[in-house]
């Protein structure tokens, strides 16, 4: 349909420029630390893509980012800014953890994992439903509601784990009885120590499903129309409120499934604060990935590389430098991509 491969160059140019700017800024910073940029970037690549452990860690980090990136991108396609991926991710992880604890231990892992994944989607989707319903019913700003909900949900989950569900002397729950997902290390010993697990396949399939939904189905056709031109969509028989609700629930569910990566694939329990900003980082992933599932996969790999690479080069430059680089990429993309400009225009129009 309209989103054709012919506009590849147009889609890829802003992120490419952003990356180039980040590289230049990175060079300057590295020089300021008295190191050679070539050496540092070489170490970064070696520590992320150069060995199986680093690569596995990069993939592990990318897995959650794909989910939270999609969680921001789907609502953004409908013209809504979902800032709530952080708490939707936590709620999904919590729901998966609780489901895994409650399941009987004899259940084969694929069935257990399926139940836990569904629980995660429901958990995240439920959090997404709140701003969705408030937006559809009262026109409440989804930006405000999702931000505020982050505080409420995270505080509530912290309380319930600390007060009721924690394992002795810890801030996490007990281990799940069923649903643990195989790690790559179980298959190939080269990945030993890395947290990369089969959730990656799930995240990639979700990205593919999102692409199909957005560009091949009636629901996606209507959702994108609402984002591009709400007036025309409405005139085309699309009910705006219903579409907004659907987009935010879907976004919440996608973020929720991201929680599976940690809970089923890595630690096998829910732990306070495991998201550690991955939900917010989903905003950057969606913007850099231009709200396209394929772009989101690439952007997730990029941010995962920078994040893991920060650890790899920590011996000679502080890992905070990589966080600065991530911020530079985000800023550069933010000023250049049309989606952001459209949102800014829309919000200034609403304010006027």
């Amino acid at each position: 349909m309209s989103d054709r491969a012919t506009r590849w160059d147009e889609a890829l140019l802003p992120p490419a420029i952003a990356l180039a700017i980040a590289m230049v800024v990175g060079d300057v910073l590295i020089l300021a630390f008295g190191q050679a940029p070539g050496h540092v970037f070489g170490m970064l690549l070696e520590g992320t893509w150069g060995n199986a452990y680093g690569f596995g860690q990069t993939l592990y980090k990318a897995t959650t980012l794909i989910c939270t990136g999609l969680a921001v991108a789907i609502p953004l396609r409908a013209g809504l800014f979902n800032i709530g991926a952080e708490s939707q991710l936590a709620a999904g992880g919590f729901a998966a953890g609780v489901a895994g604890i409650l399941l009987p231990a004899w259940l084969p892992w694929p069935i257990g994992a399926l139940v836990c994944v569904l629980a995660a989607a429901v958990g995240g989707g439920a959090i997404g439903a709140v701003p969705g319903a408030l937006k559809a019913r009262f026109g409440a700003s989804e930006v405000i509601v999702t931000i505020m909900l982050n505080f409420i949900v995270l505080a509530f989950l912290n309380w319930i784990v600390a007060a009721k569900l924690h394992a002795p002397d810890s801030l996490h729950t007990v281990e799940i009885a069923s649903g643990a997902v195989p790690r790559f290390a179980d298959v190939s010993s080269a990945f030993r120590g890395s947290a990369a697990n089969l959730t990656l396949a799930l995240a990639l399939s979700l990205a593919a499903a999102c692409w199909w939904y957005l560009f091949r189905t009636r629901g996606g056709y209507e959702l994108r129309a609402v984002g591009l031109q709400p007036g025309a969509a409405e005139n085309g028989g699309v009910v705006l409120g219903r579409t907004w609700f659907r987009a935010l629930v879907l976004g919440g569910a996608l973020a929720g499934v991201g929680g599976v990566n940690y809970v089923l694939g890595y630690k096998h329990y829910y732990e306070e604060g495991f998201g550690a900003g991955t939900g917010y980082m989903g905003i950057a992933v969606a913007l850099v990935g231009r709200n396209h599932p394929a772009g989101i996969i690439l952007a997730s790999l990029l941010f995962a590389t920078l994040s893991q690479g920060g650890l790899a080069v920590n011996a000679i430059v502080p890992k905070q430098m990589m966080e600065i680089l991530q911020a530079v990429v985000i800023l550069a993309v933010a000023v250049s991509v049309p989606e952001v400009q459209r949102l800014l225009r829309a919000s200034t129009k609403a304010a006027a």
Binding site: S2, T217, R218, Y221, Q229, A232, N235, G236
Partner: protein, 512 residues
């Protein structure tokens, strides 16, 4: 011409990305004339004038004002040199008075405070000199559209403009207000001012202008003296071929066999964002084979009425029936399925998703007919596009192009094709400003389609700011004023003069 031209544009080109808005435009405007710049929508008229007013820098070509080369100047310099532009959309602060709006950006002060009395006196003097009658002490929010436009013109003149550019100034005016504007422009001309009028209305140009320049596809294709030309000549220059101008043909065939009307509206009340009764107890019925025209100055409830009928706006009370079935409570989608077609007044906001392809736009509102559970049937979407593009002569004929890349006329053809091009004729067609911003050639085409739908037995409701269009097409004409239908006259008896007095509220129904 021995005197230096007021404006001399030579070989101007301006592109926005890949779109060449102007390819090669040259324009000569003499001192003290009223010059009409004509052309289809998208021909580049507004862009050319924005280059002149300093808003855009041209890619090529030179601009000279009163013999001085001013190529690539900015708006500040343009204003200082006496070139002022009155835009299509008003840029006024509604909470300030007329005088305050006029002096905005050039505030008169006495000591530390604004000199309101001085400003009012200055504006009043300007009003008297130019014949632009408006009370400087009134709030802009309280003004009519025609008065607001006068304030816009005053603003430009207050800054010392001697060359006045007006972009489609009559779009929002009633016939008497248009005459008033012409009087003002003639006064300006008499005082040595130069006026450039951007328009696509042929009769206006014949009325007011001294000279005409026609633009087509980003180029200036003709310059003629108004006295020696006819509307047909201008139309031919605008489109590049012969066109049939809208003439009153026949008032339509009301099928007497059909006992009940196809569309019946009873005591309909609709609110708007600012008023509770934007539409106030409106009743009318439209028969099969009839075009029911609604004339009126914009903002008298026509928009709200059509949106309510289309299901986009909530009705406060009253009933709407299509073929005897109640529509209130039906969603937009249900109305479409019952045979209600809607050509919205703002095709860029309501009619089309500009970033969607032609093919995707051609199914908007009917997407459920192309969908299975898991996918849209892309083959059928594409074949529908191929059929419609051919049947409605949409150009360029490429279903994968984004709708936003097409000209205004072709964009409107997409909407018309979607609403009228289905396998069955719609039962009721709501056509709001169906030819606004559309070129002469496409107007002819759209009128023919509406007549064909009428002849096929559809009931057509036509709202248009173009009185000539309403008179030419309608079986009966209603006039809306202040949210009410103040009169309904037979199409054959409707004239601009009689409708005009109803439109301004000057004429009133007896006994009310």
């Amino acid at each position: 011409m021995t005197a230096t031209a007021a404006i001399q544009l030579t070989g101007i080109a301006k592109a926005f990305g890949p779109v060449h808005a102007i390819r090669s435009a040259s324009l000569t405007i003499a001192q003290g004339e009223i010059h009409a710049l004509m052309g289809e929508n998208g021909a580049g008229k507004s862009t050319l004038m924005r280059v002149l007013a300093g808003m855009f820098t041209p890619d090529a070509g030179t601009a000279a004002v009163e013999g001085r080369d001013v190529t690539g100047w900015d708006t500040k310099a343009a204003i200082a040199a006496g070139v002022g532009m009155v835009h299509q959309h008003f840029m006024l602060v509604p909470t300030l008075t007329v005088a305050e709006n006029v002096m905005l950006g050039r505030e008169m002060t006495s000591g530390w405070s604004l000199d309101r009395a001085g400003a009012e006196a200055a504006v009043r003097a300007l009003c008297e000199r130019t014949g632009l009658v408006v009370d400087p002490a009134r709030l802009v929010a309280d003004l009519s559209v025609g008065e607001a436009q006068r304030v816009e013109i005053l603003k430009v003149l207050f800054r010392g403009a001697r060359i006045l550019i007006l972009d489609e100034p009559t779009a929002v005016l009633s016939p008497p207000e248009v005459q008033e504007l012409w009087r003002v422009l003639r006064t300006l001309r008499a005082n040595g001012g130069t006026v450039v009028l951007i328009t696509h209305k042929l009769d206006e140009v014949i009325d007011i202008s001294d000279t005409i320049t026609v633009m087509r596809a980003g180029e200036t294709v003709g310059r003629m003296s108004t006295a020696g030309t006819t509307p047909a000549d201008i139309a031919r220059a605008m489109v590049g071929r012969e066109v049939a101008l809208a003439k009153r043909v026949r008032s339509g065939v009301v099928t007497p066999t059909r006992a009940s009307p196809r569309l019946e509206v009873r005591d309909l009340c609709v609110g708007s964002n600012t008023r509770t009764h934007a539409v106030d107890r409106v009743s009318f019925a439209v028969q099969a084979g009839e075009i029911f025209g609604i004339a009126g100055v914009e903002g008298n409830g026509q928009t709200e009425l059509i949106e309510a009928l289309a299901g986009l706006r909530r009705c406060e009370s009253g009933s709407v029936q299509l073929d005897g079935q109640e529509l209130s409570g039906c969603t937009v989608s249900e109305r479409i399925d019952r045979g209600l077609a809607h050509i919205p007044e703002d095709r860029q906001e309501r009619g089309l998703v500009l970033d969607y392809s032609l093919a995707d736009n051609l199914i908007l509102g009917r997407q459920h007919r192309y969908a299975s559970t898991f996918a849209l049937d892309r083959v059928r979407v594409a074949s529908n596009a191929t059929t419609q593009i051919a049947a409605f002569d949409i150009r360029p004929p490429d279903g994968t192009l984004p709708a936003g890349a097409l000209s205004g006329g072709n964009q409107q053809k997409i909407v018309i094709a979607r609403e009228l091009g289905g396998a069955e004729w719609p039962a009721v067609i709501l056509a709001a400003q169906p030819t606004r911003g559309v070129d002469v050639g496409a107007i002819e085409f759209i009128h023919a389609r509406l007549r064909a739908a009428r002849d096929a037995g559809a009931a057509v409701v036509l709202v248009s700011a173009d009185l000539g269009e309403v008179i030419a097409l309608s079986t009966r004409v209603a006039v809306m004023y202040g949210g009410r239908i103040v009169t309904i006259v037979d199409g054959d008896a409707a004239t601009a003069a009689t409708l005009g007095s109803w439109m301004t509220g000057a004429a009133r129904a007896e006994g009310s």
